[in-house]
Symmetry: C2
Subunit: 342 residues, 2 copies
């Protein structure tokens, strides 16, 4: 299969398997109206199932059967959606995957509780590993999940702190550290580590996957941030420019803060210091124009490409001993796919 | 030791052990300012450590060493505090243990994330069980924790639904079902089940503790609701009448709704339908007066006493085969203590 077609094909195939397995956790039960109906909302909005697919593909590349990675893949998707629900409340986001956010529909109180329920369903799926991969590996996957969730929460704390303090001296490397924690750990590093753990039945060398996961995940996140500004609303599924509205520190905003004129910088800092609601259409237009004018989008594209290059190099090293397979090629081709998707 | 002194003495002794063990999870580390300093806030406000003490006492009554129950006891305290942080945001509570709630101090976004971090620290403590009680029991305790947290989240969902719908036909038995889920599971049933699990190294008959835990926990909760209306603010540590302000369905409020005159009932329902901020001092005074006038506090006291009587009876059955010990007597005397504390 051509390189262009392999990634979508594997995403579709493993995504479908993960969706079927998800049904075991998202079936209707009481209390429905204020809990389990809402718990199923985000997971059934059309996610790409990138994370479960990466977990399954890595496990298979290392010799496991798909079924051995399925509960972990499903757990990951449930935890991912739990983070999304809580992040959306914390960031006051308005849209998620083309529809109003859960708290916009049902209030923050109900949404926080739904996020907690999704976390617990993730734990439920991780415990269900016992039936398939045994007690020892189940506990090792739980250790991985605990580490991953801790990194995510710490990354979110640092980012919330930046917005609370209206931090204007955030460097690109500080940004990348946050991305490592709050995007890469759960989007790439955890799926790959857990896949390798299940595939090799050993945790001897899991740390070697951190660099590859970081490069791949960071390229993915920066591309995501770019799409937030320039993307097609219908495909992107969040409000365009939502990051600017939230005052989210992205590579583009950090670049703008560092290269703008003194006057522009003062104005930008004032806008970021104001409450979210004070950033109206005129302010957003001005911010977007500033970001364009100083080539911040191109700069972000360059950073994403450099990270993807590093990921490709790292892949060649850490997967060198893994025999060729469709799953291995899928992982390799993800590197280009994260830049090309729109 | 006299019956009056045993409960406080055991709470102090096991509470101190749990507090020392908690330090392993609440030490200072980065990111401090927006996360780990705040994570430690609620746990160090002077809680009674009732739940960890009950878990340790049950484990010892069934023959375990204190050290074997310590990580589970600490996990329980961390999870308890996680629930408190999220509940306080969801209920818009203003005070907790005599100080402003976490979200009142740092905003809802940071508080939600801090609650997530406390949940994860609870998971960390549960995983640390591996070193002391082995893989099999560690996984069994995790199963118990997953069940307990699920019951808690479901109970919270039902209660949030009542307030959202301004439900005025809640019956006392529906109230007790919610209390079973959102108070008893984590306050009494889980500590006892996990203590028995660790003490007996068997999960053959854990379900027999549900009734005792329910009677004890429900008596505890109803007494807590009474103290919210009539207690000493300094000792109680929450804003007095906060439950009325929140419109929380308690035995007293449910009683008032069922026995008040038609006019009073219409007025009460209107007040409960209004947003929280519309219930000012005059409204609270009127509601409190109504509750007093119809003897709802005495009714709640009667219900709590009946539940405590049922708990004492159930204790005699399910602990019949357990040899006499200070720990067993502590559990027995908790039944009276929950009614007498103020």
């Amino acid at each position: 299969m051509s390189s262009a077609g392999l990634v979508p094909a594997v995403l579709r195939e493993y995504g479908d398997r993960a969706r079927v397995a998800l049904c075991d956790y998202l079936g209707p039960r009481e209390p429905k109206r204020h809990l389990y109906t809402l718990v199923a909302d985000y997971p059934w909005r059309s996610g790409r199932m990138l994370r479960p697919a990466l977990c399954i593909a890595t496990a298979r590349a290392f010799g496991a059967k798909l079924e051995e990675a399925l509960a972990s893949a499903v757990a990951l998707e449930l935890l991912h959606n739990a983070f999304l629900v809580h992040d959306d409340v914390e960031d006051e986001s308005e849209e998620r995957r083309g529809r109003p956010t859960l708290h916009a529909l049902h209030g923050a109180a109900v949404a926080i509780n739904v996020g907690d329920a999704l976390l617990l369903l993730g734990l439920r799926a991780l415990l269900d590993n016992q039936r398939v991969i045994g007690a020892r590996l189940t506990l090792r996957v739980l250790e991985e999940a605990e580490r991953m969730a801790r990194e995510t929460v710490e990354g979110q704390a640092i980012e919330l702190g930046w917005r609370r303090d209206n931090a204007v001296h955030v460097s690109e490397s500080e940004y990348l550290e946050v991305i490592l924690k709050k995007t890469c750990w759960y989007s790439t590093i955890f799926p790959i580590r857990v896949g390798a753990l299940i595939g090799t039945r050993s945790d001897a060398e899991l740390d070697r996957f951190i660099r590859f996961g970081f490069f791949l995940g960071a390229a993915f996140q920066i591309q995501d941030d770019r799409l937030n500004l320039i993307g097609d609303h219908e495909r992107y599924g969040k409000e365009l420019g939502g990051d600017l509205q939230e005052g989210k520190r992205t590579v583009m905003l950090i670049r703008a803060l560092s290269v703008a004129s003194d006057d522009e910088r003062v104005r930008l800092v004032d806008m970021l210091a104001a409450p979210r609601s004070a950033r109206g259409a005129a302010e957003l237009r001005w911010m977007r124009d500033l970001v364009s004018r100083y080539g911040c989008l191109e700069h972000a594209r360059d950073v994403a490409h450099a990270l993807a290059g590093a990921a490709a190099h790292e892949f060649a090293t850490v997967f060198a001993d893994v025999p060729d397979s469709r799953d291995k090629r899928f992982i390799e081709q993800l590197v280009r796919w994260v830049l090309e998707r729109n």
